[in-house]
């Protein structure tokens, strides 16, 4: 029968199902009537005839059933029967069913969730036309990665190359306060070149997008999300203006809903033209003219048919030429060479930060899925073995082998499907948790984390296959065996030595080894986070509130110094605030600064690098406020001003590097054509990263370099967050144009820094704990079954005088060698895995003996405990009843 016709009859039969059944009833009734009449015709009495006729048809139901079998559509009816039967069987063993579904749900859910994140952040290409033509350009100085470019260099690369059909420049996004007329908002703003949307190939939803001419105009394109949030999707938003830092900017269009910007995970709300640049950044200089400010990240679109190799060949000499002509000044030497890579996925900052953690997590959850599958397999094996009798019975009363196998398969597949459904729910839940966790740490993460259909399909397929594979093997074994012996007795051969016992041991072995690897990784990551959190930061930040101030208009050095002084006075006067100060870079904040070309009194620099140091510009009482100890000399005071002689404070590392054992106090450092006397030496601290090895750090007096207050630091008597609003409004009182965009404790900053570590530690910790549970279940289930199967043997042994302890050993011996082998292989795997993740660890080696010993003992203990419970049950076997059952 061909497919089309089969489908047609299938559906018509489904609809005509009732009619067919009714017809059959009528037909058989007619048969009975004819038979009665025939018998009466032969001379029987009506009663006699009726009885005989009915006897002849025997059971009408069995005739109906036999006839119904001739209707093709009963295959679906049979499926329903199988499903009903499977559901009933599964419900009869709720513990088995619960555990199987739970472990499947965990495996499927975790993989789906993590893959959604991996896909959104690492794999997905930008929603632009022909993303494969895009190329990412990254600038490198001689020693390190810079990333972005100065505008004049962007222009040369754009105008003097032939491979690109277009080359765009885009600044990094920043949240800034804008005035929307009736209220203010804080959208993520990005400055982009006029050809930005043209190069990406994005079409406007409303109005128009930017064009090349906009490079000199104050215009902006808003995102679909911002349009909805701030304008309620009103088309008249196009043509309105928004005010940023007192400058008006016209909205010319709305970007399509799927376009969030040029980086995965980061959503831009407003794209502003280059013409808005000075208004946005308050720069005294025009970013379009100077070469010492790098800000433009570049993406190029290759002309059709061009390859990235051709682009590299053309761009490299041009960059070399730019480098040559830049001269020797260190701050102009940012561009030494560039790296070009496929740019379809957009800019790479977030990707690079999260790549390693996400790949590790993906590996962890993949192993969890493997564990879940082995667990399901051993459960199914144990179950199928215990069902031999049931299967034998069904075969004996006439069920066909195929039918029994199909029944067992239906059960496995049903299990996998329910597991998959719960996995989906779990995935959504994990996704929300992940998104929260990740979003704390980054400015914004706007990614579509709806569970990915492909991976859901993949993980479900894996589990269905597991279900089929491990459900089928015992099913086939069960039906192949002659029904007779299995029916006669429940006792089997010595279970531990059969072939299936061997398979079970392999599964236990795999579970022990896998869980050891996962637990080691989990323990290493959890301890890394603890080490990072307890690392000596060099300051006492418990009661410090740190306030980020957006760039603002500065009238001049004297006025800015005055503003800082007024801020410090005003904030220090608040009851409950012990001290307040200003700084350019926040401690453990996102930004850091460095200085070049330091000339140190009495020191001959070995090379250019020897004249560099990290730097910060800090106000009076900064070290007191942050709780950093001043080891020698003094810290800055209100007396260190524009008019007093230059002073600096250095950290221990810097003092030791340049002056060795000699005292640094009183030594001079020449920088920026000014002399500075070292007036203090402070203890080393963590400045940007918790993992950093103390760099040479020089602190300049903010009041001598008043270049715009970027941070206010406040030490309070207690709970610093309680002062957040007070501090914010006090800052507004001092100068209404100051925008305190971020108020956070240093503890919160540390948490944000540690987001990738938390991500890895939380998830791998959680799942490695779960794998322990899975091992437990696997061993318990297997041994329980093996004990049940050996009741008779144990009974005989005990009747012959075996001691309880020897019975206990007999049972445990079954898994002992498996356990030892699993631990050994797992240990080797853990050592190998540790080496892979070494770069993510902190404060401990991947072969950390304490962690490894702990994990091995833990797994061994848990495994033995899981084995001990069923083994002990074996020692309780009553020899008499065990033998009687035989």
């Amino acid at each position: 029968m061909n497919w089309k016709r089969w489908r047609w009859t299938y559906w018509t039969d489904l609809f005509r199902r009732r009619k067919l059944a009714r017809d059959l009833d009528d037909e058989l009734n007619a048969h009975v009537q004819f038979e009665i009449q025939r018998r009466i015709g032969e001379g029987q009495s009506p009663d006699e005839a009726r009885r005989a006729a009915l006897r002849d048809v025997r059971s009408l139901d069995s005739v109906k059933e036999a006839t119904r079998d001739a209707w093709t559509w009963t295959s679906i009816e049979r499926l329903m029967q199988d499903l009903r039967y499977a559901a009933r069987t599964l419900l009869k063993t709720p513990v088995f069913t619960g555990i199987a579904i739970l472990s499947l749900a965990l495996g499927i859910g975790a993989n789906t969730a993590i893959f959604s994140l991996v896909n959104a952040l690492l794999l997905r290409t930008l929603p632009v036309s022909h993303p494969e033509e895009l190329v990412l350009l990254t600038s490198y100085s001689r020693e390190y990665r810079v990333g972005d470019f100065a505008y004049p260099d962007y222009l040369r690369l754009r105008d003097q190359t032939q491979v690109f059909s277009g080359l765009l420049g885009a600044g990094s996004g920043n949240r800034m306060e804008v005035d929307l007329g009736n209220r203010t908002d804080r959208p993520q703003i990005q400055i982009v070149t006029g050809n930005y949307f043209t190069v990406l190939g994005v079409q406007p939803l409303q109005g128009r997008l930017l064009v090349a001419d906009d490079d000199n105009a104050p215009v902006a394109v808003i995102s679909h999300g911002f349009w909805q949030r701030s304008f309620g999707g009103d088309p008249s938003a196009v043509g309105k203006s928004l005010m940023i830092h007192g400058s008006l900017c016209a909205i010319v269009g709305v970007a399509p809903p799927e376009f969030h910007g040029d980086s995965a995970g980061e959503a831009t709300d407003v794209w502003m033209s280059l013409g808005m640049q000075q208004a946005v950044t308050f720069s005294r200089f025009d970013m379009r003219k100077v070469r010492y400010v790098t800000w433009a990240n570049m993406i190029g679109r290759l002309k059709p048919g061009m390859t990235i190799e051709q682009a590299r060949a053309e761009v490299a000499p041009l960059v070399a030429q730019i480098h040559e002509s830049a001269g020797t000044s260190p701050d102009k030497d940012y561009l030494h060479h560039i790296v070009m890579e496929p740019g379809g996925r957009g800019f790479a900052e977030m990707r690079e930060r999260l790549q390693a953690p996400l790949i590790i997590l993906m590996t962890v959850v993949a192993l969890v899925l493997l564990m879940a599958c082995t667990n399901l397999a051993s459960l199914l094996l144990a179950r199928a073995a215990s069902r031999q009798r049931e299967i034998a019975t069904r075969l004996a009363i006439g069920a066909s082998r195929m039918r029994v196998i199909r029944q067992l398969l239906t059960e496995s597949v049903l299990l996998a499907l329910i597991g998959g459904a719960f996995g989906l729910l779990l995935a959504m839940w994990i996704n929300r948790f992940l998104l929260n966790l990740v979003s704390q740490g980054f400015v914004t993460i706007t990614i579509n984390l709806s569970p990915d259909g492909r991976i859901l399909l993949f993980t479900s397929a894996v589990s269905v296959l597991t279900g089929i594979l491990f459900g089928l093997t015992p099913a086939i074994q069960a039906v192949r065996r002659d029904a007779g012996p299995a029916l006669k007795t429940t006792s089997r051969t010595i279970a531990g030595r059969t072939r299936r016992g061997w398979l079970r041991n392999v599964l236990i072995f795999a579970q022990v080894a896998l869980s050891l690897v996962l637990l080691t990784a989990g323990a290493l990551f959890v301890r890394t986070v603890r080490n990072l959190k307890t690392v000596d930061t060099g300051f006492a930040a418990g009661n410090v509130l740190s306030v980020g101030i957006a760039p603002h208009r500065t009238a001049g050095p004297a006025q800015e110094a005055d503003l800082a002084a007024r801020l410090i006075d005003r904030l220090s006067a608040i009851p409950g605030i012990r001290s307040a100060t200003v700084a350019v870079n926040a401690t453990l904040g996102l930004a850091g600064s460095g200085v070049y070309g330091l000339e140190i009194e009495g020191y001959t620099p070995k090379n250019e690098d020897d004249q560099r140091a990290r730097a910060n510009w800090v106000g009076p009482r900064y070290f007191e406020t942050l709780g950093m100890s001043v080891l020698q000399g003094r810290e800055f005071s209100m007396a260190d001003t524009l008019n007093s002689s230059g002073v600096v404070i250095v950290n221990q590392t810097m003092a030791r590097h340049y002056f060795g054992e000699e005292s640094a106090i009183g030594k001079r450092i020449r920088f920026n054509k000014r002399d500075h006397e070292i007036v203090g030496v402070v203890r080393d601290a963590k400045y940007r990263e918790l993992r950093e090895v103390s760099p040479r750090m020089v602190f300049f007096a903010f009041l001598q370099y008043p270049n715009g207050v970027r941070n206010v630091e406040v030490r309070t008597d207690d709970n610093p967050l309680a002062f957040a609003e007070t501090v914010r409004s006090a800052i507004k009182q001092v100068d209404p144009q100051l925008d305190a965009f971020e108020v956070a404790t240093v503890a919160q900053r540390i948490d944000r820094k540690l987001t990738p570590e938390y991500l890895v530690a939380d998830i791998s910790g959680f799942f490695s704990g779960l794998t322990l549970l899975l091992v437990c279940i696997g061993i318990y289930g297997t041994l329980s079954y093996s004990v049940a199967g050996r009741t008779n043997e144990i009974g005989v042994r005990m009747a012959l005088g075996a001691k309880r302890s020897s019975v206990l050993l007999l049972i445990l011996r079954d898994i002992l060698w498996t356990l030892i082998a699993g631990l050994a292989v797992g240990l080797a795997g853990a050592l190998a895995a540790g080496r892979v993740v070494e770069s993510l660890l902190f404060g401990l080696k991947p072969n950390d003996p304490v962690t490894l010993t702990f994990v091995v003992l833990l797994v061994a203990a848990v495994a033995l405990l899981a084995g001990y419970i069923p083994a002990r049950r074996a020692t309780r076997v009553d020899p008499v009843s065990a033998l009687r059952a035989e």
Partner: protein, 114 residues
């Protein structure tokens, strides 16, 4: 392989039953009971087809498009489902019959060698 032997036997019997049914219907439309009676009578009461075999066979044959059915009133006003041969049933029957004849001829030759 007890099961296989059983199913082969079943197939053989089924084929024979199908042929007997179609043969009966060659003489005109008939309902299920009538078919059973006809086979029984013509075989001299040797073949007694039970309802449990007859009706599944009828429905199967109908599904295979070898016979078709319609509801009609019988001589004594009983509503009954009448089956008749379809053209493809007729063709099938001819093929079956010649196969059967061949088999009978072969078997009798084996039993009574000339």
């Amino acid at each position: 392989m007890k099961n296989n032997a059983k199913s082969e036997k079943a197939a053989l019997l089924q084929g024979t039953l199908d042929m007997l049914i179609m043969q009966t219907l060659q003489r005109g439309a008939e309902h299920g009971h009538g078919i059973g009676v006809a086979i029984k009578t013509r075989s001299g009461d040797l073949l007694n087809i039970e309802a449990g075999s007859l009706y599944p066979a009828l429905h199967r044959l109908e599904r295979q498009d070898l016979i078709s059915s319609e509801w009609k009133l019988s001589d004594n006003n009983q509503r009954a489902r009448y089956y008749r041969l379809t053209p493809s049933g007729r063709k099938q029957l001819m093929a079956e019959e010649s196969k059967w004849d061949l088999l009978v001829k072969a078997v009798s030759r084996v039993r009574n060698p000339v």
